[in-house]
Assembly symmetry: C2
Homo-oligomer: 361 residues x 2
C-alpha cells in the first residue's frame, strides 16, 4: 500500500515513552516534525514531544484519537501488543510493519525465519514443557540457555542450564512459558549492525558496532568493530537481506556473535531488534545522520541520510548509579554526554550514555 | 550572588518560544534537563519543552509561577522588558544578567560601553530630534545609517540616509524615536564571534564565523572566517573582554566589521547579541559542543564544553520559501537539515538552516 510521504509540520506517532522514543522525538523536531507519544506510563519522551497520550494499549478510543492525530505510527520497543498494532495499522501506516513485529516478538518464529533465509543462528529447540526441555538438552548439550519465546530483553526471561542444573526448576523459574533452548555459542566477540530501509526499498547501514555487555546489558560500543572487511561486509549484507525479507521500513538492528573458526569469523545471528538500538547511540555525535533521524526519514517516506562516520567511536552506557559521574563527564573535552531525564537511578536502569569521537588512525 | 549549580532533572526557564528557544530546549533535554518556555505567543519551542506558559511579560502572577518552577531563567532574545527581567531576577538567577540586557537593548548605551572599554565601533552620534540628526549628519557625513536605539533586529528600525535624502523624513520613518546615527563603515567582510562565559569566569569561543547577509538577514556563514590568525585572535580576545566587563554568564555573540587598512584588518564592533546566535547554528553539527549546549552548561553553573570544530563549515539559512527546498536538501549526502516547525513560510521568516561539514584542507 503506497502512502504519501509526510511533510515538515506533520506529526509522527510513537508508542513508548522511554529514552528511545525521546531521542526519536528530538530527531523529528530537528526536521520540523511534531511528535505524539502514546504510552500507558509516563516517561522521559513526554518532556520533548508536542503531544502525549497516557492510556493503555488496549484503550481503543484513545488509540483511535492517537491515530487520527498522526501521519505515521512507529514504536520504540518490539513488544507492542499485536491487537494494538493491528488496530492502528487499519488507520495509519505502522512502520516497521506487522510482520516485523510478529516475527521479532517470538524467538522461535525469529530463528525459524532466519534459518529459512539461510542465515545461521545458534542451534535451538522449541520447549513447551519439561519433557521437551530434557529432550532439547540431550540434543544441544550443556551449558545451554533457556529463553522465553516472548518478552525477553536485557537478560530478562533467560536462564543458563549448566551441567548438574535441574531442568525442571529452570523451566519453572521462567514461569513455565513457551521457551526456546539455545545451544551455547562460544563467541569471540559480539557485534551489531544498525541499518535502515526506506519505503522505496533503499538500504543504508552504519559501520559495524562491536559491543560489550555486563550483566546482559550493553556496557560499551566501539566503532568500527575490529573485524575483517569481509566479515563487516557480510554482516551488513545479512542485515539488508533480513530487512528486505521483512519488507521493512525504518531502522533495524541485528545483533550477531562472531565465532572464530579456522582463523576466520563465522557470523551467528543472536537477535533482531525492529527499532533503533542502544549500540547505535554513537551516531548522534559520530555520524552524518543519527540512527534516530534515519528512522524518522524512513518512516516518513523520505530519503535515507548518509551513515558516514566522523571518526573512531567509543560509546559507554550509564547504568544506574554510573550516571552520578555526570560532572566528571561534562568536564572531559570531547565527550558528548546524554542523560535521559529519568527520575530514579534504579540499579540496571539506563540513565544516559556518553560518546567519544576520536581521530581516525 | 553565588548560586548552587543545577542538577540533571532540574528545569531551566526560557523567555521566548522561537527557534532559538527551541534549540536551547533540545540541548537541555540531551543533558537530562527539563525546559519551561514562557512566551506571550505560541511558537515552535512549545513543541519540545516539558512545560510552557502562554502569558504576557507583564503578568506578574504567571511570572511568579514560572520562576517558582525553574532553577534558572534565560532568554532567546535581547528585548526582554526590564521590569520582567527585574521581577524574575528577584526570585531566580537570570542569566545573562540585567546589565547585559540593559546595555544591549540600547544602541547608544552599547556603543558607549564598548568605547569605554577602548573597543572601536563605527563613529556614532545620539539623535533625539531632527536638529540633532542634522548636526550628526554634518559631523559623520553621508551616507550614514539612522537606527532606533531600541528594538531593532534583522534590519528593522534602520534607514540609510544618502546624499540628497531628507533627514526629517528618515527620522519620521522610524517613528521619531530616540536614535543613533552611525557613520558608514566601508567593510571588507562581516564576522562574528560566538563565545561563552561560565559562572566561574571561564571563557571559551568557537572559531570565528564569516557571515553574508541578504536584505539585512543572515544568509550564509563559513567557518573558519578567511582572516589572519592575528585578526581571529583579536576578535576572540575582544569578545572575552566584553563578556568579562558585563560579568556575563551564557553564550554571547559579537558581530564585527573588518575594515582593510594598510594591508591588515581593523576590527569594528557592529553589535552585541546577549544570546545564542544564528551564525553559531553550525555548531550543532560541526563542533564538539553546540552553542545551545554551551549556553545551557553556562547558565546551569556547569563547566563549559569544548568548542572544537569538526571540519570546514558552510551554514545556510532557509528564509521564507527557501525552505521549500527541503526534499533536495534531504537528498544531499552530508547536509544536516534543520527545520524549525513554523507553520507559515512568510517572506523574511527564518524557517530552518542547513550545515555542511567538509574535510579540513
Amino acid at each position: 500500500m503506497s502512502q504519501p510521504a509526510l511533510q515538515p509540520g506533520d506529526t509522527i506517532g510513537i508508542l513508548g515513552s522511554g529514552q528511545l522514543g525521546r531521542m526519536i522525538a528530538m530527531a523529528a523536531a530537528r526536521l520540523g516534525l511534531k511528535t505524539h507519544i502514546y504510552c500507558p506510563d509516563p516517561g522521559p519522551a513526554f518532556d520533548v514531544c508536542a503531544t502525549f497520550t497516557l492510556a493503555a494499549y488496549e484503550d481503543e478510543k484513545a488509540l483511535a484519537a492517537f491515530a487520527d492525530s498522526v501521519g505515521v505510527v512507529s514504536y520504540e520497543f518490539e513488544n507492542v501488543p499485536a491487537p494494538t498494532a493491528g488496530f492502528l495499522a487499519a488507520r495509519r501506516p505502522v512502520r516497521p510493519g506487522a510482520r516485523a513485529l510478529a516475527i521479532t516478538q517470538d524467538r522461535w518464529d525469529e530463528k525459524t525465519f532466519l534459518n529459512g533465509l539461510g542465515i545461521p543462528t545458534a542451534p535451538f529447540a522449541r520447549v513447551d514443557n519439561v519433557a521437551s526441555l530434557e529432550a532439547a538438552l540431550e540434543t544441544l548439550g550443556r551449558p545451554a540457555v533457556l529463553k522465553t519465546r516472548r518478552f525477553g530483553y536485557d537478560g530478562k526471561g533467560q536462564a543458563i542450564i549448566r551441567a548438574g542444573d535441574d531442568a525442571a526448576s529452570a523451566f519453572r523459574s521462567l514461569g513455565e512459558q513457551p521457551c526456546v533452548l539455545e545451544g551455547f555459542v562460544s563467541f569471540a566477540r559480539e557485534i551489531s549492525v544498525v541499518g535502515a530501509r526506506g519505503v522505496d526499498g533503499s538500504f543504508a547501514a552504519f559501520d559495524v558496532c562491536e559491543n560489550e555487555h555486563e550483566h546482559h546489558i550493553l556496557s560499551r560500543t566501539i566503532v568500527p568493530a575490529q573485524v575483517s572487511e569481509t566479515t563487516a561486509a557480510a554482516a551488513i549484507e545479512t542485515t539488508g537481506k533480513i530487512a528486505a525479507a521483512l519488507d521493512y521500513v525504518g531502522v533495524i538492528t541485528v545483533e550477531m556473535f562472531l565465532v572464530e573458526e579456522n582463523g576466520s569469523d563465522r557470523i551467528v545471528i543472536n537477535e533482531i531488534a525492529p527499532r533503533v538500538h542502544n549500540s547505535g547511540h554513537w551516531t548522534i555525535d559520530g555520524a552524518a545522520t543519527s540512527q534516530f533521524e534515519q528512522h524518522v526519514r524512513a518512516i516518513c517516506g523520505w530519503p535515507l541520510g548518509s551513515p558516514r562516520r566522523h571518526g573512531r567511536i567509543e560509546m559507554g552506557n550509564l547504568i544506574g548509579a554510573q550516571a552520578d559521574a555526570w560532572p566528571e563527564l561534562l568536564r572531559e573535552p570531547g565527550v558528548a554526554l546524554h542523560l535521559y531525564g529519568k527520575h530514579e537511578a534504579r540499579a540496571g536502569r539506563k540513565m544516559g550514555h556518553w560518546t567519544r569521537v576520536l581521530p581516525e588512525g
